[in-house]
Structure formats: C-alpha cells, structure tokens
C-alpha cells in the first residue's frame, strides 16, 4: 500500500515534468517523420518505419529513464523531502521500490504511446498488422527497466550529473556488449579476452533484448530465446534493486 502510494505520487510528479512532455513530443514527431523518410526508399517503407520507430522509442525511452531516474532519490535529498518521508513509518526499501515502480509506470505510458504510433504507422504502410512489433517493444521495455534500475542505483549514492554519466556509460556498454565480445574474440590477447569476458558477464547485455531486426525482416522468433532474455532481465533488475536498497539503507541522512 505504501509502495503503491509512493509509486503513484512519483508517476504524477514525473508526468508533470516538462522534460518528459517535450521528449515525448519530439519522439512522436520523429516517429511520424519516419513515414515521410520511408517514402524516399524504393519499396522499403514498412521496414524503415519499423526500424526507425523501434529505435526512436528505445532511445527516447532511455533518455527519459536516465534523466528522470537520476533525480528520483537525489532530488528528494536536495529538497529535504526525504526526511519527512523516512520519519514516517515507511521503510527505506518501500520508498525506493515505490520510486522505481512509479518511474517504470511513467515509462510504460510514454513508451506505450510511442509504440502505438509505430504499430499504427506500420499497419498503414504495410496494410497488415505485425504482432511481432509488440514482442520487440516488450523486450525493449525490459531493457529500459534495467537502465532505470541502474539510474536508481547510482542516484542512491552519487550526484545527478555523475549518475547520468555512469548510467549512460552502462547503457552504451550494454548495447555494444555483443560487439565488444566479438572484437575481443577476434583481436585481443588471452588476458584481455578473459577480462572482457568477465566484464561481459557482469555488465548488462542489453543486446539480448533486441528482437527488432527479426521482427522487421519477418524472420521466425525463438520463444525460448525470448523467455530466457526476459528471465535474465527480471533477475538482473532484482539484483540492481537489491544493491540500490542496500546502499540506501546504509546511507546516513544527517
């Protein structure tokens, strides 16, 4: 109940944020513009609308997750509102969980609006419905939930600027982890290869959540692959949230 109240409050606060409205407006404009851009291709309108649409929703969703996520805890400390909350019979983990769920809810609404536009445009261009787009967007959303959890973890012990830099770095590494591992296997010596393999296992592999290319090309999707990726995502989020709660519990608010 307490978690729910904090989550709803976080959602309301985030929805009122002007950054969110402007980023969403810009994303919707870009997705709509992809239909104009696609008309310049030779018979590839559907592919371009889906590719650009999925990439835009993922990128703008990440911006929202990072720029709202980094301020979730630090803003409360800065405004000193955290004192009034932790003085009440609210556990710190409930506060953090509420914040996380509130931001995920905000992302669900904003990314949902973007994905609806992508699906609608793809339908209009292709003349048929592509259900795989929803699966691709769903897995992408799980990657966004990981980025949000990373942002919250950093915001429990760091400044908003540093949290933004760290989260952005984790996002970039996560997106490129597949390529990094490939480069290491091809060109690195045994020591560096091992180091990169260890990093690959520790850092989030966000490329696991990308099934957009298969959906766009109409290739068969592996249900087992999707289920394993989803499980990996859920467990990774739980680990990050536990870490964040651990740090937040030990934090001294004097």
């Amino acid at each position: 109940m307490k978690v729910q109240a904090i989550a709803l409050n976080t959602f309301r606060e985030a929805v009122r944020d002007r950054i969110l409205t402007s980023v969403l407006a810009f994303a919707l404009l870009l997705i709509a513009a992809s239909a104009i851009l696609a008309s310049l291709s030779i018979g590839q309108e559907g592919k371009i609308v889906k590719d650009l649409g999925l990439a835009s929703s993922s990128l703008f969703g990440t911006f929202i997750a990072i720029f709202l996520g980094i301020g979730l805890v630090s803003k409360e400390i800065e405004r000193r509102t955290v004192y009034t909350i932790i003085a009440k019979p609210v556990h710190r983990f409930q506060f953090l969980l509420g914040k996380y769920i509130g931001l995920v809810l905000t992302l669900l609404v904003t990314v949902g609006v973007m994905v609806l536009l992508v699906v609608g445009l793809a339908w209009a261009v292709d003349g048929h419905w592509t259900p795989g787009l929803l699966a691709a967007a769903g897995l992408d959303f799980l990657a966004l939930m990981i980025v949000t959890a990373v942002a919250i973890l950093f915001s429990t012990f760091s400044t908003p600027t540093l949290s933004a830099i760290f989260t952005l770095a984790i996002f970039v590494i996560g997106r490129l982890s597949g390529d990094l591992r490939w480069f290491a296997e091809q060109f690195a010596g045994p020591g560096l290869r091992r180091a990169i393999q260890v990093l690959y296992l520790i850092l989030p592999d966000l490329s696991r959540f990308q099934i957009g290319p298969q959906v766009v090309h109409g290739l068969p999707l592996s249900t087992a692959g999707i289920v394993w990726a989803a499980l990996y995502g859920v467990v990774y989020i739980l680990v990050l949230l536990l870490l964040a709660i651990g740090v937040f519990q030990r934090r001294d608010f004097k």
């Binding site: 310049l40 291709s41 030779i42 018979g43 590719d51 970039v172 390529d179 966000l206 090309h217």
Partner: protein, 236 residues
C-alpha cells in the same frame, strides 16, 4: 500618435523584442544561403566521408537496422543523382556493401543493388558478387538465388550457372511456381526467349516499386519487339 504609444516606457521592451526578432528572422535566410555556399562539403564529399562498416556498427549503438536504412536512403539519393547526370557510380558498390554489413538480412538491398549495378553501372560482376554475398547470408530466402539465376541467364548467357541457381531456388520454400518449368527448359536448352520474357514478366508482377516495374516493362517491350521481328522473318 502611433510613435507616442510605442515610446511609452511599458511598450519599449516589447518593441525592442519585436525589432530584434524581426532582424534575426530576416538574417536567417541570407545566412543559411551563405552557409550552404561556403560549407565545403557537397553530397559527394559526405559520401566519401562515410565511415567504414565496423565503425558504423559501433557508432549506431546496436541500432544496426536503423543505420542500414539511413545508409540505404543515402545510396538511393546517390544513385538517383548520378542516373540523372553522368551515369557514373564509383561509390555505389561501397555504399551497398556498407548497408549489407550493417544489416545482412536486408534482402531487398541485394536484389535492388544488383539491378543498380547491372543495368546502370554496367558492373555485372559486381552485381553477381553482391547477390552471392546475399545468398551466403540468407540461405533460406529464395529471392537471391532466383536473382542470381536470372542475372546469369539474361545478362551473362551462362545457362549452366543459371540452372545451378534455379535448382537452389527450387529447394527453397515460397519460390515462384515457374521455377521447375525453367529448370526443365534449361535441361532441354530450349525456349530461350520465352524464358527471358517470363522472367521479366514475373519481375514486373512481383515488383514492390514503380522503378523496378518500369525497368521490367522496358525489357519486356524490347523482347516482345524481338519476338515479333522474328515471327515476321519466319512468315516471309
């Protein structure tokens, strides 16, 4: 009367704002023209500066499909620009290779790129190499071996290779109904013109763009003219 109203202290900031806004908006168009004239980077220069595929793969942060689409749109722009001017395409092959390095499953790039290379850049070997790359990257798609067979048959007059690629096409699901008939004709080495005509007709009927349809219709008209000439000759 008007100047008195405008010079009231309360209005001065508004007037100054409107003046500044008007001046700046008025300056934008000539400045933009100057910037364009002195930019130093023409479209061609931007094409030369296109980074190699591995760098683009990293820079696109895993959004390889989107990066491939953008390079594909650039390729079409480049191709269209040269079709309407000098018909020289020195960067075409590199651009096509960049698109498929970013998105190897983008089957239409192999097919359309091969048409660009073959019928406009007059680089039939380049077209074959592109299609062979496509067949290796997409072994389950019938379109690429089919295009290889068509290119070998129509442009290189190599029936042996055409037969091989039609046989590859025949093993793949979704292939057109006429493929077994062509295989039979190639084994019997008969009906060359009819096969060519049917191949172009199939291309016209399955074309997803007006440009490909027009190309096929031109070739059909040429072939029909030749068939009509031949039958007239025979009548005499």
């Amino acid at each position: 009367m008007i100047s008195e109203t405008l010079l009231r202290p309360a209005r001065i900031s508004l007037v100054a704002f409107l003046l500044a806004f008007g001046l700046l908006v008025g300056a934008v168009i000539p400045l933009h023209r100057q910037a364009l004239a002195r930019a130093g980077h023409s479209f061609e220069e931007r094409i030369w500066l296109l980074p190699p595929p591995p760098a683009l793969r990293v820079a696109s942060l895993g959004f390889h499909g989107m990066a491939a689409d953008l390079v594909w749109l650039l390729t079409i722009q480049y191709f269209g620009g040269h079709v309407s001017t000098d018909m020289q395409f020195p960067e075409l092959r590199r651009m096509l290779e960049t698109v498929i390095a970013l998105d190897p499953d983008f089957v239409e790039v192999y097919s359309l790129g091969a048409l660009f290379l073959n019928y406009f850049a007059r680089d039939v070997r380049g077209a074959i190499a592109l299609l062979e790359d496509g067949a290796r990257a997409n072994p389950t798609r019938w379109e690429i071996p089919h295009d290889l067979a068509r290119t070998y048959y129509l442009d290189l007059k190599d029936s042996r290779q055409a037969l091989h690629w039609f046989e590859v096409t025949d093993r793949l699901s979704g292939r057109p109904h006429y493929v077994p008939r062509f295989i039979a004709r190639l084994y019997a080495a008969t009906g060359e013109r009819d096969t060519a005509l049917e191949l172009w007709q199939a291309m016209r009927d399955s074309a997803t763009s007006e440009w490909v349809r027009e190309l096929a219709m031109q070739e059909i008209a040429k072939l029909e003219g030749q068939i009509a000439d031949e039958s007239r000759e025979r009548m005499r």
